[in-house]
Amino acid sequence: MAIRVRVLASDQPLLEGEADFLTFRGADGDLGVLPQHAPLLTWLKPGEVMVRQGEGERYVFLEGGFLEVLPDLVTVAAERGQLSSALGLEAAEEDLKAAQDRASRDPEGLAAAQLLEVAQARVAAAQLQRRRERD
């Protein structure tokens, strides 16, 4: 028993296929979905979506977005995202520094805070990815 999953960014489809299980960072915390899950609608925090099929696990980093679970289909749509394997740790760390600079200059700014949250999540995802690649 598997469920169809599609992960789409606004500028490219990222992943599509069958899955036995997936996890993601929902609005109220990390969630996992198995086939036959009840319908669910949530927004996503910046972070990784993991899609497992058989022995294989695939990871996608999203800067937010929405996730809908239906009986036969999980749709994940985000303005921006990329495969975790395409994340570069060094580039992510540089981004984070820039975001921290901006947030310290504009501590009240909503946009700056969002940018910082995304940048932190990207560094965390890039670190996890590096660890996975080492194993």
């Binding site: 599609r6 009840a38 669910l40 749509a77 303005e79």
Partner: protein
Amino acid sequence: MATLRDIRRHIRAIRNIEQITRAMQMVAAAKMRRAQARVAAGRPYAAAMEEMVADVAKIGKEYRHPFLLPREEGPGVLILVTSDRGLAGSLNVNTLRAAHSYMLRNFGPRYQVVALGRKGLEFSRRVQLQILHHRVGISDQVGPEELRPSVEAAVSAFLEGGAREVVLAYPRFRNLLSQVPTVKVLVPVPPRSEAEGPHTEGDYIYEPDARAVLERLMPAYVESEVLHAVRELQASFYSAQMVAMRNASSAAGDVIRELSLTANKVRQAGITRELMEIIGGAEALQAARR
């Protein structure tokens, strides 16, 4: 009758025009390929957002967002997506005509406009529509941030301004030769038939809660539609421009061929006339000598 010099000058002028149209054709062709790739890559996302919202309209009961509730009254808002520049055949005219006639039919002549692109803006000024917001010079690598103020103008016209409908008009890219003028209602979300969409008992589980999710999802849906419409426009525009310039170049070639023929005839006629004058003169001399 034109003199040979006039005709040759005309040929030179047309040859210059042909060079320009050929250059524009090449530039448009290169941009078209990139724009086509972008529109194809973005389509699944826009379609998914549209489906998600339609699913919510069908099975979501816990909280009915204003975007899900039909309205009886209020002005219409048109998000009008056109190109900044012309030389693209009837692309913009077709979009404007389709959009304007829909809006006239449903809202009368005083509807409101969010104009993305100069051609639509100029049109809106000419027919004296109420322009809520306008934007020209959208980049070819357009992203969601660039369009956010325009989307916000349309969304707030609905949420705060009491508009009855938000309508989106753009040329949908089908292929090089075909761009389809498209007019669709974004808000309120059009209902789907019973057969379409998810078949499920009961409502979603919402996180964090129904209202909070939908208040984010609904504007994001409009944003995704507008972003995608701009990408459709760009692919359509460069295709239409390429075809228009190709036609112009080949028409220029035809004119040059015809004019060259005339020039040769005029030149030949001149030579014949001169020869006849010389021969006539020579014969007159001989006759005089006898």
